[in-house]
């Protein structure tokens, strides 16, 4: 028997006056794994997440979360909104207990989990402090605990890395990985493509209210087949470059100071593996590697500023 999807969106629309914020988005997120919800500013990510959380209602379409409406499943969902806030005068433990009790936990269980999470997120001794006494990073951790204290089956994080210093970002990454291993479904939106690439099993890209990409990371790497190869010659780079440029299937070959290697772009029909073998035979190379397409490049390619220019570049094999 197939498990109930964690999130199902079917042809969801949301309008704010004349603005069509979300345009017929359909999506199914299976249970388990990490799904990145990407898109430029104003793409409709937060609106979609708010609809998934039943904070706002869609104008059209159907949304199911853990087999029910989000209102019915709220106790099994953890949510860290983009706009984070705390009751400034409340003490940390009191605030977290309040949130835990809203999620259906009894006081004893809540206190145990709060203590455990404060320790895990390296926040010792803050439970008696008022929220306003904490630094911004500490406040963000407290908010994260509020979303995790009910041990949710589905965790939705809206821009969780925004404003975090590298140390705290690493702590958060560690926790997201840990939660994934324990079977929690995680949907998170971010602008940081490298983070998404590190953490996500799957990526959904939304642009101008429409879904433009919905694939596993592996599939994205396959689909956006790399056309670039990096080769570090053992001998004279100019001579090696000439030899490679003359090979069939090579569109351009130029020295990259940044990579300290020859940057080779293949033609559309060339087989990358064959081309790399031929390069090794043609000239002695210290290393030759297929340059993986980054999510950043996919993002820019799909939603980048001037799409007509990008399309023209693609057509030219650039």
């Amino acid at each position: 028997m197939l498990a109930t999807p964690a999130i199902t969106l079917h042809d969801v629309h949301k309008r704010y006056g004349a603005t069509h914020a979300v345009r017929g988005v359909s999506l199914q997120v299976e249970q388990g794994g990490v799904c990145g919800f990407l898109g430029p500013n104003g793409a409709g990510k937060s609106t979609t997440i708010r609809m998934i959380m039943s904070i706002i209602l869609p104008d059209e379409g159907r949304i199911e979360v853990l087999g029910a409406t989000a209102l019915d499943a709220k106790d099994r969902i953890g949510y860290l909104p983009e706009e984070r806030g705390l009751y400034r005068k409340m003490r940390v433990a009191e605030f977290l207990r309040f949130m835990a009790q809203l999620k259906g936990l009894d006081r004893t269980t809540a206190d145990q989990r709060i203590g455990s999470w404060l320790e895990r997120l390296e926040l010792p001794g803050v439970s008696r402090k008022r929220c306003m006494e904490l630094s911004k990073g500490m406040q963000q951790k407290v908010q994260l605990i509020a979303s995790l204290v009910n041990e949710p089956a589905l965790l939705i994080l809206d821009e969780p890395f925004s404003g975090l210093d590298p140390v705290n970002a690493r702590v958060l990454t560690r926790e997201i990985r840990g939660l994934r291993e324990r079977g929690t479904t995680i949907l998170f939106s971010t602008h940081q493509m490298r983070t998404a690439e590190d953490l996500c099993d799957r990526v959904v890209l939304i642009h101008r209210g429409e879904k433009v990409l919905d694939e596993s990371l592996a599939s994205i790497h396959r689909r956006f087949d790399p056309r670039a190869v990096l080769a570090e010659p053992m001998s004279d780079p100019v001579q090696a470059g000439r030899a490679i440029a003359a090979m069939p299937g090579v569109a351009t070959c130029a020295w990259s100071d940044e990579a300290r290697a020859l940057h080779i772009r293949l033609t559309e029909n060339a087989d990358a593996r064959d081309a790399m073998q031929r390069m090794l035979q043609a000239t002695p190379l210290r290393r030759v590697e297929l340059r993986r397409t980054t999510l950043d490049e996919v993002f820019v390619r799909l939603v980048g500023g001037d799409e007509s220019v990008l399309a023209a570049q693609e057509a030219a094999g650039d």
Partner: protein, 422 residues
Amino acid sequence: MRRIGTVAWREFRHTALTKAFIIGAVVLPLVMFAVIPLVPMLTKSTPKPLTGRVVVIDPQGGVAAAFETALLSKDAAPRDREDPFGGTVDVQVKVERIADAGRETELRKEVGDGALAALMVVARDDKGEKAEVLVPSASSPKHTRRLESAAREAVVRARVAGAGENYDRLRELMRSERVDTSRISPKGDAARESTELRMLVPAGFMFLLWIAVFTSANYLLTSTIEEKSNRVMEVLLSAVSPMELLCGKLVGQAAVSTVMLAMYGGVALSGLGAVAMLDVVPPSHIVWLVVWFPIAYFMVAAIMASIGSAVSDLREAQSLVGPAMLALMVPLMLWLPIVENPNGALAVAFSFIPPASPFVNVLRLTAANEPVPMLQSILAVLVGIASVAALLWAGARIFRVGVLMQGKTPTPRELLRWIWMR
């Protein structure tokens, strides 16, 4: 229900179990209750005696002797002897009459220097005698009042004597008599009438209701604004629905309001009980207050919660609270005519117009100059309940949209549009 209960408890705990609330709503009434009976006792004092020389310039004679009699008499005019802060002035002065009006300037200087306790200058015109009293600048008000009183009496005595009448006899005849009025109930029970109390009791009930309702509705407004400005609203909405949040907040503040009503009402009743005046508050008054309290609270709270959800800070709230406050001030402005005529057209009309209706009805029902028809009261309650339902429904719709809105303050027209927004 669990979520509503949790939100309600937080709302109550962070409003009513704070130092500011405990001091303002619990300690202060108790202190007032303890202190009010002590005020007359604490302020009562024995005034200093009036001593020294008092000179009367009385060229014709006749007034000075009467002045001396009136001033030294223990039986001075009762009105002058009654002082809310107590104490009769003991007069130990020597009164001297001089006929030479030319010494006035010299004697005035003596008054200014404090050598004379007072100077009285008697003059005569075609209407009879008249007097001027001069006292040193440091003279006690009690002494001044006593001197003025004696001077008035002396002048009148002189006029009466000039007319050939007997002042003491006339005074006895003109003495004002106390008249006691009692109200007889349909059952034949008599109760002492007190006009002042009959006006003040309805006002007391209305103010009690007003303060209890407005204090907690104001807390609701500020706590909602705080949740929006602290950006904690969306965190809350991840755990509860907007409706559950609103209900929890309303219930929590209803408990706060009930505590206030019970505290202030209890202190007022205890105060009346302490001075044996509980009969001015029949049980029916309390029953009507209990009936109208939840209607008043939920009406005002629904308005305040929707305003709080629509704005981002208190300053923005003022532009929307203003019109609502205007409607709610109506009973405060009209309490006198309503109490005077509780079944008049004005009172009846406002009994059915929310949000003033609960306060107007409490005024009418506790005024009791004439009984309010029961059918009218029941109808007003039903209209009040229907108004609460409508205001809560509209308030919840505005709240649901408003809590996530940031930026410019909505106009009243936009608020109306939010009601119908999906």
